[in-house]
Structures are given as structure tokens and as C-alpha cells.
């Protein structure tokens, strides 16, 4: 045994990538001990599960957010000396009309997120053929106990809220395909108090390619992974390019189940909600590709991906 058993706090620092830089401990010594000690490895998995459970419940509790106001609006508010918040309602009607059809997607903002650009191009091409209207919006309704004078329009901003939610109470579903790693993931889950949220992870793990015949030759494909934790955003799923689509960087995308048969794949400013079908992911793309623009438009369009074999890495 190279050292004493590792404390829980150190395991969490290890998982949070804070060991060397912030805590000043030698990560290699911890790694070495973990390699030798079954007990600490087991506790590491428990720590990983509780971290993942907490992240998942926060994710599932996030209210849908509309795009932020244009930065210029805040600048002029700051210039005019007003420290009162700009109402989210500003520009609402314009923005709401922008919620509808696709081709208004602009790519400037998303240029930093290569994969989002790709998905956006794809969405635009698709929506040229068959744009669909925004299906639903959410309204926040307040049962005010003490209505405050400045709360004149509680529902205005909410009208442009994206509608989304996650169903925590879904029954576990049978995986279409269970390999050894996924089995480990499931067992790990059953051994901790995590929500049933992740039960659908094995069904969507794998590689998916856009099932479109876009003449521009833009083919998006991505890999959804269910490990090491089925739903931890970082490092559990990556978007990668195919050779013809050019280089796409790994992204900080995350995905989460939505009900028993859907998932949401989320990038900053871009969300794709997909139904999980037999060998197909289908659904609706909605997202804003240019948050700086005054009319930061959301586009909504249909998408379809089919399961393909994963290439070797």
C-alpha cells in the first residue's frame, strides 16, 4: 500500500480536477493508490455517482432560458446611469416572431463552437425544405403573495422561454444493446440514490449520423457515450467530425433524458431535442445561433439521425 486510504474529500477533489492545482496534493500518488486499492476504488465510484446525481438533478431543475438580451442594450443602460435591470421583456415581440422558421440562423456567435456551426448549417438546410413552427411556449404564472410594484410583467419574458423539461420519474427502460461498460454503469446506478433519470442512457449510447441528403455535403455525426457516468456532461460525450465535414472540435455538449423516449443534446445556445426510436434519433432542433444580434432568432427545424457503427479511436 503506497499510502493510507484516500479521504472522501480528496476523492471529490480528484473528480473535480482540483487536486494538484488547488489542494496541492500529488495526483499521481492518489492514482497509484487507487490502482492498488479496491476499497478506495469503490469509494471513488460512490463519490462519482453522488457528484453525477447532483449535477443531474440541477440540470433537470433548470428552467428553460431564453437568449440573453443584446449586450449593446446593457451597455446603453450602463451609460445612461440606470442601474435598474433591463426588462427581459424588451424586444420580446420581435424575438417571439423570430422563434418560428429556420433560415434566419446566423453563424457569427457560434463560430467559436465548431460543432454548433455544423449543426446550424444542417438545421438551416433542413428548414429550407420543411420549416416548422414553434410548438409551444411556457408561461410563468405567479401567485403573488405580495406583489411588488416593479413586477408589472411577470409573464412577458416567460413567453419566450423555451419549453423543455426532464422527466425524473420514468420507469427504467430496457437497453437496446447492453455491453459490458454500460452494464457497469447500470449497476453503479442501482447502487446509489441517483434519480432514475439516466435509465435511458444505454439506449442512446453509440454513434449517430444525420440521415439527410444535403447537397452541400454537410454530414454531422456524433457519439453519445454512457460512461464513465451516463449523464455527466464533461467527458461523457463528444461530438466529432466525419472526414468530409471538416474538423470539428470536441464540444462541451451535454445531454439528458427527457421522458422515457427523448433526450436533449445541449450546447451553449443550442439545444437539440431528439426522440429515441428504433434505430433513429428524430426530432426538433431549436436554438439561437447569434446571441449578440438584436433579433437573436431561434430557429426550429426537423432533424433525423441514424445509428452507425462507431469508428475506432
Amino acid at each position: 500500500m503506497s499510502m493510507q486510504h484516500i479521504e472522501d474529500g480528496v476523492l471529490h477533489a480528484w473528480l473535480d480536477d482540483a487536486l494538484d492545482a488547488d489542494v496541492g496534493m500529488d495526483g499521481e500518488a492518489v492514482a497509484q493508490h487507487l490502482a492498488e486499492c479496491d476499497q478506495c476504488r469503490r469509494r471513488l465510484e460512490e463519490a462519482r455517482a453522488s457528484k453525477a446525481a447532483v449535477s443531474a438533478m440541477f440540470l433537470a431543475s433548470d428552467a428553460p432560458l431564453p437568449p440573453p438580451p443584446a449586450f449593446q442594450v446593457l451597455e446603453s443602460a450602463a451609460r445612461s446611469g440606470g442601474d435598474a435591470p433591463v426588462r427581459p421583456a424588451g424586444g420580446r415581440s420581435k424575438r417571439r416572431s423570430g422563434w418560428t422558421r429556420g433560415p434566419r440562423v446566423r453563424l457569427a456567435w457560434a463560430a467559436t463552437i465548431a460543432v454548433a456551426v455544423s449543426a446550424g448549417v444542417l438545421a438551416r438546410e433542413l428548414s429550407d425544405r420543411r420549416g416548422i413552427d414553434l410548438p409551444a411556449t411556457l408561461e410563468y404564472e405567479r401567485e403573488a403573495v405580495h406583489a411588488e410594484p416593479d413586477e408589472e410583467a411577470p409573464r412577458q419574458a416567460a413567453e419566450r422561454q423555451k419549453a423543455e423539461s426532464a422527466d425524473l420519474r420514468q420507469a427504467p427502460t430496457e437497453p437496446a444493446r447492453v455491453d459490458a461498460d454500460e452494464q457497469v454503469g447500470r449497476e453503479r446506478l442501482e447502487a446509489n440514490p441517483a434519480p432514475a433519470l439516466i435509465a435511458s442512457a444505454p439506449r442512446v449510447a453509440g454513434c449517430w449520423r444525420s440521415a439527410t441528403d444535403s447537397p452541400g455535403g454537410v454530414t454531422a455525426w456524433f457519439r453519445l457515450e454512457a460512461k464513465p457516468d451516463p449523464f455527466v456532461a464533461e467527458d461523457s460525450r463528444t461530438f466529432e467530425s466525419d472526414a468530409e465535414a471538416g474538423v470539428m472540435s470536441p464540444s462541451t455538449a451535454s445531454w439528458r433524458p427527457l421522458g422515457a423516449d427523448s433526450i436533449i443534446v445541449a450546447f451553449p445556445g443550442l439545444e437539440i431535442r431528439l426522440r429515441v426510436e428504433e434505430d433513429r434519433l428524430a426530432g426538433v432542433y431549436r436554438g439561437s445561433m447569434n446571441r449578440d444580434a438584436e433579433d437573436a432568432a431561434y430557429s426550429v427545424s426537423e432533424l433525423s439521425f441514424e445509428r452507425v457503427p462507431c469508428p475506432n479511436r
Binding site: D8, G9, L11, A60, P66, P85, L138, V145, A166, P268
Partner: protein, 170 residues
């Protein structure tokens, strides 16, 4: 002086709103406060050394003020337009997001202030060093605090979830 803030704005908007929302549980007000934070930032004479940390610190202070104000109304999610296509969340799903929010909010009540603060900060992407500075913990104690916080929260949440399911069955 607005250049660093402009690029940060795109980056941190979502994190900042959610950081605030998880303290006041009012997404609309959270967006207003996030704007307020940036307006204050733009009014600063000089850019702080760590602009990101500055934004979240101001946000935390604003939400503390907020908590001292009168009792706030309870927000409720409601579906206002029906779906024609098949991609829209059902009323059930919207109900579920609200239930989840209520449970997470209640479960957070089982943590003490340092645990809650550390957890919200780490979820917002802060380093252990930054969490240590904000909470007064030593960097080495942040992991221990987070370990306790995560376990307590996961257990409290699971209990709430189980309890309500049992209740609903009767």
C-alpha cells in the same frame, strides 16, 4: 472598458442566471439580476483582476439582498400553446420540471450554508481555490465539504422523490 465584459457575457450568461436562480428560484427575476450584474460591471472604473469571479460575487450579494425582501410569489410553469408537430414538451413534462425544482429547492435546505455555497459554486464552474476564498474554508477542506454536500443532497432528493411517489399512489 466593456471589451472584456462583452466576451465574458456570451460565456457566462447561462451559468450566471442559473447560479442566481438556484438561490432565489425565480428564473425571470434571475435574468433581471444577471443583467443588473453586467450593468454594474460596465459601470466599474477598471476591470477587476478576475472578472468572472467578480460577476458571481456581485450576483451572490444581489441575491442576498433579494432574499431579505418581501415574500416572493411562487412561480408556476404553464403550457400556453399546444403542440402540432411532436417535439413539444407535454404538460406532464412541464409539471415534472416544476416538481423537480420544488424538490431540489427543498433538498438544498438540508445543507448548511457552506455546503450549499460550495456546491452552487462548483456547479457554476468555480475552482476549489475560488470556493475556498469565498467560503473561508481551506482549499483542502473544500473537497470534504463538497463530499458531504453532494451525499446529503442526493439522499434528501431521493427521499423527497420517493415520498411524493408513495403519496401520489394513494
Amino acid at each position: 472598458m466593456s471589451e472584456p465584459w462583452a466576451s465574458l457575457y456570451r460565456e457566462v450568461w447561462g451559468d450566471l442566471v442559473r447560479y442566481i436562480d438556484r438561490r432565489i428560484w425565480d428564473p425571470e427575476r434571475a435574468q433581471e439580476l444577471a443583467q443588473e450584474v453586467f450593468i454594474r460591471a460596465l459601470g466599474e472604473e477598471r476591470t477587476p483582476d478576475s472578472p468572472r469571479a467578480w460577476l458571481f460575487t456581485v450576483a451572490a450579494n444581489l441575491t442576498r439582498d433579494e432574499a431579505r425582501r418581501a415574500i416572493r410569489g411562487r412561480e408556476k410553469l404553464r403550457l400556453v400553446a399546444a403542440d402540432a408537430g411532436g417535439g413539444a414538451p407535454s404538460p406532464d413534462e412541464i409539471l415534472t420540471i416544476q416538481q423537480t425544482r420544488d424538490r431540489v429547492r427543498e433538498a438544498l435546505g438540508s445543507l448548511n450554508e457552506r455546503e450549499r455555497e460550495s456546491l452552487l459554486m462548483v456547479e457554476a464552474g468555480f475552482s476549489y481555490a475560488e470556493i475556498a476564498e469565498a467560503t473561508g474554508l481551506s482549499p483542502g477542506a473544500v473537497g470534504t465539504t463538497l463530499s458531504r454536500a453532494r451525499r446529503k443532497l442526493a439522499v434528501a432528493y431521493a427521499e423527497l422523490e420517493g415520498g411524493e411517489d408513495v403519496h401520489a399512489a394513494h
